[in-house]
């Protein structure tokens, strides 16, 4: 079942009279339980693309379909419906939690507003269930984001994102700020959750080796354009585009 369909997305920024094309005619689709990697260097537009899908920005041209329904700009009315179907995990997990509140408070908010669960006991039960799923002890959720490590915070953020049962999960460089051992574990966690909970995942990263080892399909972006797209194995084995070859060559493996 197609969860996400992106058609001819174009986005241009205008700054001081200069026109900067950030996204040029991007199209792709994503099925349930599938992990799509978007890889590119800084300035290629991968984060901008996520912003269009997440509804933080509106594309200048093109359409996005979520579960078959065309997405309109986010407003007060459609916000809840939209975010019931999709969630996002950010690069800096600690910053994605309110620094002055416990992480569980943010999770309970999500459950209350998106899943309609107001009973505290029920909320805590669900939080406990998903904290366990991401490999954390339940009481860690009762801490502030500054009191836990980067990896633990990111796991908590992932738990918060999946506990409202979204169909689509957007991951914006979620491991870039983490150490390599923690990165490996988080990548495996995402993979496991995607397959178990049947969630479609868009995984944005600058690390083609990480994307290569995690994702089913891959998009390579350069200067706002999609220069190569396809099954991960195929692209890694036989890259068509010169830029993809350059990216693959740049990987330094021990």
């Amino acid at each position: 079942m197609t969860v996400l369909e992106v058609k001819n997305i174009t986005r241009t920024y205008r700054k001081n009279g200069i026109v900067i094309p950030a996204l040029k005619d991007i199209s792709f689709s994503l099925e349930k339980g599938e992990i799509l990697g978007i890889v590119g260097e800084s300035g290629c537009g991968k984060s901008t693309l996520l912003k269009q899908i997440a509804g933080v920005e509106t594309p200048d041209a093109g359409e996005i379909y979520l579960n078959g329904a065309k997405l309109k700009p986010v407003c007060r009315k459609n916000r809840k419906e939209r975010y019931r179907q999709m969630q996002m995990v950010f690069q800096n997990a600690a910053e994605s939690f309110n620094p002055r509140r416990r992480m569980a408070a943010s999770m309970r908010e999500n459950l209350k507003f998106l899943s309609g669960i107001s009973d505290k006991k029920e909320q805590m039960r669900i939080i406990g269930f998903y904290m366990d799923k991401v490999g954390l002890k339940e009481e860690l959720a009762l801490r502030h984001p500054g009191e836990v490590s980067g990896g633990q915070c990111q796991r908590a953020a992932i738990a918060r994102a999946v506990m409202t049962n979204p169909d689509l999960l957007l991951c914006d460089e979620i491991t870039s700020a983490l150490d390599v051992i923690v990165q490996d574990r988080i990548a495996k966690l995402i993979r496991g959750l995607a397959k178990e909970l049947d969630i479609a995942v868009v995984f944005v990263s600058h690390d083609i080796a990480l994307v290569g080892s995690l994702c089913d399909r891959m998009i390579v972006m350069l200067d706002g354009e999609c220069v190569e797209q396809g099954e991960t194995g195929q692209i890694l084995a036989a890259p068509q585009c010169n830029y993809t070859k350059l990216l693959l060559d740049s990987v330094l493996e021990p």
Binding site: R76, R79, K80, M88, F97, N98, S106, E109, L114, R160
Partner: protein
Amino acid sequence: MRKKVKRRFFLFLALAALLVLFAVIAPYFAPNDPYATNPAAMKAAPCAQYPFGTDKLGRCIFSRVLAGARTSIFSAVFLVAVTFLIGTVIGIFCGYYGGIFDSLVMRLADILMALPEMVLAIAVAGMLGGSMWNAMVALGFAGWTTYARLAKSQVLIQKKEAYVSAAQMGGCPDLHIMVFHILPNIIGTLVVNATSKIGSMMMGFAGLSFLGLGVQAPKAEWGSMINEARAFIQLTPWAVLFPGAAIVLTVTIFNLLGDAARDLLDVEGQNE
């Protein structure tokens, strides 16, 4: 370093609290009735019966200073509190939503801020007539604008943070985000700003009363006391000096409190 800053803050907080407490209980400690005139002891120098001397009508200045404490301090604190609330709420809405509302409000604030604060206050008080409440309205008329501007700029900064996006994606209604997410993270800066405004509000009050536009005779208020006595400053300097000293002392304590609070916030911000 942090301990020193914290200690300073609590020191001035204690002093300010003492001041407010003093304002409440002071009138009960007045040795004489602040409003009782004594034709026999007009313009008397400080002595045993009248520790600060008497004014031109023979009223005990010490008692009047104590009585005036309540008026002066409370009106300033009350005014700051009210303008702070109004200004902050407006500022938060402007910052969060932007748009036409924001543009209109900010232009209005610009106009009000373009006029010198005291001149505007004098004009408004002149129109409304002299009384404590009218003086408050006069000073508060443009007073809310600084809080609104500061709140708006703080909100704009917080709006860009990831946790606000995350809260929006959590389905939180806008008001919920403004109150429970953004406000707790900006309230520190806003309150510090307000604390340092108490001093200038007191000065504003004293100024208006001095010009006869604030509290009216015979009500005891430090500024109006100075006004009444300034014609006789060479004969009875104590009638001007003591209320003046009271203003200076109070304003200094509140200003230093505001400074200490700001330093504490800076230091805590560094440690984060």
